[in-house]
Amino acid sequence: MLTDPGYLFVQFLNGLQFSMLLFLLSVGLSVTFGLMNFVNLAHGALYACGAFIGYSIAVWTGSFWAAFLLAPLAVCVIGAVLYGVLIRQVRSAGPLTQVLLTFGLIFIFLDAFRVIWGDLALGVSAPTLLATNIHIFGQTYPLYRLFLIALGLAVYLILWLALERTNIGAMVRASVDNAEMASCLGVNVERLFFAVFCTGCLLAGLAGVAAAPIFSVYPGMDLEILIPTLIVVVIGGLGSLKGAIVGSLLIGMLQTFGQVLIPQLAGSLSYILLGATLILRPEGLFPARAH
């Protein structure tokens, strides 16, 4: 089986698909972290929000695409409210306060999911257009998963253009480098941070609704993805798009092939890579801020 190229190719696609999901989640987290040294542990909860809200919209409207478009926006609004009510108040507090607050949010969200949607796993079906299998190398592969890969790549491309080719993108990079200097040049760094934070929430919501047809939707789904996402952020390096995509690919592939090739070690492979990175390059592979 392991020598069957078709099988390995399918695993490669699975790895790619998982990587793209990790990318959608880690990029927002990484850039907000790099911009303001703010770590939002509730980022995973926003991903779950995207999945739950997407589920409900899909049920009400009968359309996956309505859910796909509206759920990320809803999560973006939830993020903006969280920011206004809570996060803004602890922006200048130390990291411990921020970690405790956002850690607490995880449990509040968890209970909210239980109360609203119950404990059982919910299923969302892929849209009819994509609910078929295609044949590659004698294997069948769900078209929806290929769509997810394309989605991740498209988001990467859009973010790259926005960051590298627009004036606002240059302001974000400048503020990650040196926020004080950016503000001396007239950049309202706090407002920029808010915009980046909301974009991160939008992408987390997008990841949630996009993942719903593949994994089922249940309270606690966020905790499963939060740890690999944080590992991606640390390995990739804070604040950089390149770090987020490379880190996601590394962890996504490592976890997927780890389970296939060395299942006994699969659980610890990411941590081994994390440890190795922290020893060899404590700032991650591509930290945005030069030191």
Partner: protein, 233 residues
Amino acid sequence: MLEISGLHTGYGEKRVLHGVDLTVGEGEVVTLLGRNGAGKTTTLKAVMSLLPAMEGEIRFDGRPLKKVKTYDLSALGLSFVPENRGIFPSLSVRENLELTRSTRREVADGWTMERVFEFFPRLRERLDNGGSQLSGGEQQMLAIARGLLLNPKLLILDEPTEGLAPIVVKQIHERLMELKKAGLSILLVEQNFGFATTLADRAFVLGRGEIQWSGPSGDLRGESEIQHRWLGV
């Protein structure tokens, strides 16, 4: 134009300034001198609202700056070139300059990229280099050029000659002289006594958190006692 009166500030519990008074007039070049750790940079940070004034007041064009946020100062006409030059390493030289496009003070006949390249021709050649690939002198030129593109009324420079070769220091001196002749107001913090006093109209000497001497900078060159006591010249 800039009036600092009775300024007290510091870092947390640590008081650095105990009542600093300093003014910069329209079209005037003023230098603030003092030993390492005297509080020169601290004074500039307070002007840029990077540090709150604990007591005293800072006014710019008659307007108190107490409630003005740092990012609004560029539009009022304040431009700050910090001591580490503040070049963004992730941005190219072009991007470092273009960053000011949406935040600068709009004036008729202001600074343009083209004028900046005539002023510092070296920058044109380095346009597509990364901010971190420049030499110290080029970084200083870029920092000043970026400051000028904001079309400031007052340009604030913190130790622009620090760590630069004598020939580059001479070039920067010439450029600043030209700005002075064009009527730009400048507040210059320096350790290089000759550089500062040949540029500035007036000088302020900072020591023990207060202004110990102020007057025409030509007079300071004759004050060997003050120089020895507060500047270690």
